[in-house]
């Protein structure tokens, strides 16, 4: 298959079109810019809709409307924009409507910076809006994986009738890598049992709604949703394990940071240090079993992130405090170097000996 050189943001947009996305609703923000610009050019030529909304708030509600008709719909934004979308994301989750939401993360809090960051891990995995709900969160670490996960995101969303977030960052969005687009099946889930497409006077009316005024009714809905979440945790969690079999130190990292960590792990291995890397591909569900497997011979765990320590909480929870878990991070848009990570690995290696 032919490989093409593409920016992460553009590859993501192209993959979305190939995956059958028919509508994009968004609002300009850095560093997701190329994604919406690419779609503004391509959608009209390829039978899709590109609409620049008046705000992030409006854009996510357009997603709610479009997705409620059973159409494959997406939006993309960067950190401050996702905060604005959180109202709509909560309604979409509460209405059991599938869609794709992309966050090309930048530095925060507030206006923060426009450089790459992973400061939205907590927001994505634990706080995307008010109420008891989850999104499936996918975290690619290469332009190729961005492409692959876009397709999986649409499929998972429809399979479980829920919104899915692809958590990218300024690094993945802006860098260019060779990428190939797999043959994508245009098969979509059957949405005829719930989508608002007009009754055609052939069925009862469908109501796409998140309001349950009776407490018991709402509890029942939420509990049902959590049974679905339990099934997703059981079957959909995914991770990459790199040189973990004999690893005495396991470095955990997600997204772009894992590329830097991999370089550091290779350098450490060259120096004879038994170190491996664990990379969650699904941030929710967090791949707990895979982490336990990756750390079966480990004496130390190090979480490396482009933030002040967010995923490290889930690492500790998954390990049930059975192993010491250290943290190293750079924040505010600063990217850690392989040598900085190597130095942290060596600190732990010294501690072990």
């Amino acid at each position: 298959m032919e490989k093409v050189l593409m920016k992460g943001n553009e590859a993501l947009a192209e993959a979305a079109i190939r995956a059958g996305c028919k509508c994009f609703f968004g609002y300009p923000i850095t560093p997701q810019t190329e994604l919406s610009e690419y779609l503004s050019k391509q959608m009209p030529k390829r039978g899709g809709v590109f609409l620049q909304a008046e705000s992030e708030v409006a854009a996510i509600n357009m997603v709610l409307g479009g997705a409620a008709t059973g159409t494959r719909v997406m939006t993309s934004s960067s950190s401050p924009g996702i905060s604005l979308k959180s109202e709509g994301i909560s309604y979409i989750a509460g209405s059991d409507v599938p869609c794709l939401i992309v966050n090309v993360e930048r530095g925060g809090p507030g206006l923060g910076s426009i450089q790459p960051s992973q400061q939205d891990y907590w927001q994505a995995t634990k706080g995307l809006g008010h109420g008891d709900f989850r999104l499936i969160i996918l975290a690619p670490n290469s332009v190729q994986e961005v492409v692959n996960l876009v397709v999986r995101a649409f499929d998972l969303g429809e399979k479980y009738r829920m919104p899915v977030m692809l958590l990218s960052d300024g690094l993945l969005g802006q860098m260019m890598e060779p990428v190939e687009f797999p043959e994508i099946s245009d098969k979509q889930a059957d949405k005829s049992s719930w989508a608002a497409t007009g009754t055609k006077m052939e069925r009862e009316h469908h109501i796409v709604n998140s309001l349950y005024i009776e407490a018991n009714d709402l509890e029942e809905q939420v509990v049902k949703r959590y049974e679905k979440y339990a099934k997703i945790e059981e079957t959909e969690s995914d991770a990459e394990l790199y040189l973990c079999d004999d690893a005495e130190i396991v470095v955990t990292a997600f997204g772009a940071t894992s590329r830097i960590v991999k370089s550091a792990v290779n350098k450490a291995r060259a120096e004879g240090i038994k170190v491996g890397m664990f990379r969650p591909i699904t941030l929710w569900p967090f791949p707990k079993k895979q982490l336990l497997d990756a750390t079966k011979n480990a004496k130390n765990v190090l979480s490396v992130e482009m933030n002040m320590g967010q995923m490290v909480d889930d690492v500790k929870l998954a390990l049930d405090c059975k192993l010491p878990v250290a943290f190293f991070g750079r924040t505010g848009g600063v990217i850690p170097t392989p040598n900085e990570v190597l130095a942290e690995i060596k600190k732990l290696n010294g501690g072990v000996q």
């Binding site: 609703f25 609409l51 357009m62 709610l64 008709t69 055609k200 006077m201 009316h205 109501i207 796409v208």
Partner: protein, 260 residues
């Protein structure tokens, strides 16, 4: 026996939750009659607001979507862009449409979204118990303007149709009322025109219906109608503020004195 009056098919056979004397019931019925008469129930999707008519999804027989507060025009935009073959309407109150949803309303209008908006203006937040709305009249007492709305501190009411009539994307902006039989007939005519505009691809149509709220105005239904006529209508003149078919624009309406 011959049936002379019955429930429109597009209304569900359920008890409405609205207070006695509230005019939501009349407006629901008018929307349903129009949908029936145009034969479009099977291809219509309605979008409900947050407010007194939040449960409208249980009352209209067509497919329905519940939007967050104020976002109905954005949700409707999403539906219409994804499925231009569907007839899409929103049913919104004044707090929803003219306060928290002002941006969504104005931008759906200026984009000329091909949707119909039924805007029920009773000058108060009914569902939360009668707080000051963007359309509450100067001097009007509400639970959050207990000394009467003072424009110096609380600002002036929003004239939605007047404002929207200045936008190129708007096909129809009209204000009606449901206080008398002729006005109810006129309201139905305008709702039908809004749906027909959508059918004909003319763009954004809004029908503002002056309505009453006996519970929160603290008046009997009859007194409410009197207040609507004597206090609300002079402040919110009825009339067609913009109609692309007849080239009625705001300026001409003012010359006409605002009468239908």
């Amino acid at each position: 026996m011959a049936v002379v009056f019955e429930r429109p098919k597009s209304l569900c056979d359920v008890r409405l939750h609205y207070c006695a004397g509230c005019t939501h019931g009349i407006i629901h019925r008018l929307v349903a009659e129009v949908i029936d008469e145009m034969g479009i129930e099977g291809t219509t999707v309605g979008v409900c607001p947050v407010g007194c008519s939040v449960f409208a999804y249980n009352y209209f027989n067509c497919d329905m979507i519940e939007a967050p507060h104020g976002r109905a025009p954005a949700v409707a935009t999403g539906v219409k862009r994804a499925r231009p073959d569907l007839n899409v309407f929103t049913y919104q109150g004044d707090g929803d449409l003219a306060a928290i949803g002002t941006a969504e309303t104005v931008h759906a209008a200026t984009r000329g979204e091909n949707i119909a908006i039924i805007f029920v203006n009773n000058g108060t937040y009914g569902m939360t118990g009668g707080q000051m709305a963007p359309t509450t009249l100067p001097g009007q007492v509400t639970t959050t303007s207990p000394y009467g709305r003072n424009p110096k501190t609380a600002g002036y009411p929003v004239h939605v149709c007047e404002m929207l009539s200045t936008l190129d994307g708007v096909a129809l902006a009209t204000r009606t009322a449901v206080d008398t039989v002729p006005h109810i007939r006129e309201t139905k005519k305008m709702i039908r025109k809004a749906f027909e505009n959508q059918r004909d691809g003319k763009g954004f149509s809004i029908v503002e219906v002056l309505s009453t709220c006996p519970s929160n105005w603290g008046l009997t239904p009859k007194e409410c109608i009197k207040r609507l006529q004597e206090e609300c209508m002079p402040y919110y003149p009825l009339g067609v503020y913009k109609d692309v078919d007849t080239n009625v624009a705001n300026a001409e309406l003012l010359k006409m004195g605002g009468a239908i």
